[in-house]
């Protein structure tokens, strides 16, 4: 089958490319990877006016064809046909921000000079108009020599016109091609950035019909958000609200999911005879997967906040505020964005470090990213906090449980800063790379874009729960179920898994961990959230010997763990690098095993020491 024509979307960061991509392709999108690099490849299908399909690929935002990061390198390599695993595009869709012509036109001119058929989307014209900027697209069209379509991606304005131009472009309509040829051979396009920039400014001035000074309300928002005193207060308040919301908003949906899994278990117990298959399905699959899926609401709430902060433009302000603090541990404000993403998951966080240009800076950020409390730790924290920390109000709207959770997050951050400080003086010694960033305009986040972002996270999470986690819990179930314990012996201790755990118990006993925890630590190497599933499975198997029948996981924990053990367990999870995906992405991003092994080593050492200190302090305090 012949491949459909390929159209690449290119533009500066903050040109509104993703929104336009979403408007053009709707939900027909695919996220993949370019071979050899971890840069995500976003592609989607689009039907032209004459019904032919076109593949649209959304390239990473770049400032020029002279790449400063792996992301920008992919953009350059695709548009020049040098990217492995990608064909040379049949046409380029260049996206420029109407209210930032000076800057975006320069990159557009570099792209047009490549000689591929080009259509320019003059995006966000509504914001430019609101900003008091009236533009004449005809002047731009004449000066650039390519069709220019004014668009408002978020309101789907200009989308049909754009599709019409693309139809003409990849169909080889003589009018469009003729227009392009007129200027492509101009010869005046120089590669020198300063020269190009000056020409871009001249074109922008010519295309500007009228202009009032830059919008003030944007600056007004900034005078609060970036205020030396109110700025940091606002940031801390936002983060606090975010973490409280993770707990309080998720209660109801968690109840529904628990209900659904309980119903499935009851139904299976009704239709299946007691025995091997029933135990596998109820104790293995449902107990294991259910224990993890239940945390989907919390993870989605966390991602919701991060996506909204990013889409609104606030994230870069946060980076600005954090730069001073980050500079003190040898990092830059830029590191704040990957680190905040790591609160959702270290994998996208580590991938987001690609925007950090300095290698040492980037490496340090990668090494400390796993210390940010990722959403996979939430299931573990939630269940332990729920079982051992009383649900008391300490202040109006501030519960003790939420406060403990906040403290755990804070501990991860402090740990990361201490680690960065030490690393920058030893293994990643060097000059700091500085901080220079464009601050995008504030924007109302679009429900649709945030929704699509959340949906792709849900898909990834459920896929993981359905594969890695389901498989690991089934293996664990098997290890715990065989061989069958003779009467009078505990199944969880007699089984193969139990015996392995007994060996490990010797090592973790000094930091207050019991047999159950030693057992849970083994499968938890694959992913942290399995800890809950593993304990759930172990107690479910043990439960069959229990005359009282189905006890909740929380009741089991309260009965078997002491408070110092529970606290040590929480502390362990603040530091322990138990996530295969993180280790794998670190290996890919650092090109080898050296750094991931270093990361595993220092984090396990920290986890062991900190859990031990916590346990013994708690015991000494008589808790």
């Amino acid at each position: 089958m012949e491949l459909p024509p390929l159209v690449a979307m290119v533009g500066n960061p903050n040109a509104g490319k993703s929104a336009l991509f979403n408007a053009l392709t709707g939900a027909r999108q695919k996220v993949g990877n370019y071979p050899g690099v971890t840069v995500e490849r976003h592609s989607g299908r689009l039907a032209l006016d004459d019904g032919r399909p076109v593949e649209l690929v959304d390239l990473p935002g770049a400032y020029s064809l002279d790449p400063a990061s792996p992301d920008e390198r992919v953009t350059r390599d695709v548009v020049t046909g040098a990217q492995a695993g990608e064909r040379l595009p049949d046409a380029l869709l260049v996206v420029i921000d109407a209210s930032n012509l000076d800057n975006h036109l320069r990159f557009a001119m570099q792209l047009i000079a490549l000689g591929l058929p080009v259509v320019v989307a003059l995006n966000m014209v509504d914001l430019a108009e609101r900003d008091g900027l009236v533009l004449d697209p005809a002047v731009l069209e004449r000066e650039l020599g390519v069709p220019v379509v004014p668009t408002v991606a978020v309101r789907r304005r200009g989308i049909d016109l754009l599709r019409g131009q693309l139809t003409a472009l990849v169909g080889g309509s003589p009018a469009a091609v003729g227009l392009r040829r007129l200027r492509a051979s101009d010869g005046s396009v120089d590669d020198d950035i300063v020269t190009l920039q000056r020409r871009a400014r001249a074109i922008a001035a010519a295309a500007t019909v009228s202009e009032t000074p830059v919008r003030r309300w944007n600056h007004m928002l900034d005078s609060v958000a970036l205020h030396p005193l109110f700025g940091p207060v606002l940031l801390v308040a936002l983060l606090f609200v975010m973490f409280q919301a993770v707990f309080s908003w998720s209660e109801a949906p968690i109840g529904w999911i628990e209900g659904a899994f309980a119903a499935a278990e009851a139904w299976l117990k009704g239709v299946l005879p007691d025995g091997f298959l029933r135990s596998l399905l109820t104790d293995g699959v449902i107990a294991g997967v259910g224990a993890v899926v239940v945390f989907l609401p919390q993870i989605l709430i966390l991602f919701l906040f991060i996506l909204v902060l990013e889409a609104s433009g606030y994230m870069v302000r946060a980076a600005f505020l954090m730069d001073r603090l980050m500079a003190q541990v040898g990092l830059s404000g830029r590191a704040f964005i990957p680190l905040l993403s790591s609160f959702a998951c270290a994998v996208p966080g580590i991938m987001a470090t690609r925007t950090i240009e300095d290698e040492k800076d980037r490496l340090t950020t990668i090494l400390i990213a796993p210390l940010m409390t990722c959403s996979a730790r939430l299931p573990v924290y939630t269940i332990i906090i729920g079982a051992f920390i009383p649900a008391r109000q300490v202040l109006p709207f501030v519960g003790l449980q939420g406060l403990v959770l906040f403290a755990l997050y804070l501990l991860g951050i402090v740990g990361a800063f201490v680690a960065a400080l030490l690393l920058r003086r030893t293994v990643t010694k060097g000059e700091s790379s500085g901080f220079m960033m464009e601050m995008p305009k504030y924007q109302m986040p679009r429900l649709r874009d945030v929704g699509l972002g959340l949906w792709s996270r849900t898909e990834i999470f459920l896929k993981r729960a359905g594969t890695t986690i389901a498989l690991t819990t089934v293996v664990l179930w098997a290890l715990l179920s065989f061989p069958q314990a003779p009467a009078g012996q505990k199944q969880v201790e007699y089984s193969i898994g139990g015996r392995i755990a007994s060996g490990l118990e010797v090592i973790v006993r000094p930091i207050g961990f019991n047999h159950d925890i030693a057992l849970a630590l083994i499968p938890t190497m694959a992913a942290r959230e399995i800890a809950v599933a593993a304990i759930g499975t172990a107690y479910a198997i043990d439960d069959t010997e229990d005359a009282s029948g189905a006890k909740s996981l929380v009741d089991h924990l309260r009965g078997r763990w002491s408070l110092p053990t529970a606290l040590a367990f929480l502390m362990w999870f603040v530091f322990a690098p138990q996530c295969i995906s993180t280790i794998a992405v670190t290996r890919r991003e650092t090109n080898g095993w050296r750094w991931p092994l270093f990361m595993i080593g220092y984090l396990f050492a920290a986890a062991y020491v900190m859990a031990g200190i916590t346990y013994w302090l708690a015991v000494a305090a008589g808790l």
């Binding site: 012509l101 950035i193 920039q197 220079m436 601050m439």
Partner: protein
Amino acid sequence: MHAPYTGAVTAIRSPRHAAAHHAADSLTLETLPRRRSATVGSIEWARLASPEARRLRELGFDEGVAIEVLHRSRLGGGPIACRIGRMTVALRRAVARAISVSPDPLPAE
């Protein structure tokens, strides 16, 4: 033996000298008063690391471009947010120091 003496003299003279110098014509982006519109004079590219210099060019920093400082943390040390063209850019003080600016004449009142 003479070295400390000479050093002391320089230490006394240089701040005065610098102040006089700045007041005249070579204000930098680091010292430009907040919300005072100005024009970029020259940029000392040699003082910047090469990736920094390139990024600065890509963000449109050039002679004759309109510029304005929007935010600067009072206690010093933190980055500066400035408006260049119709864009807001954050940069560190060390970079701002390499960009000399001349304030636009204030409108007559």
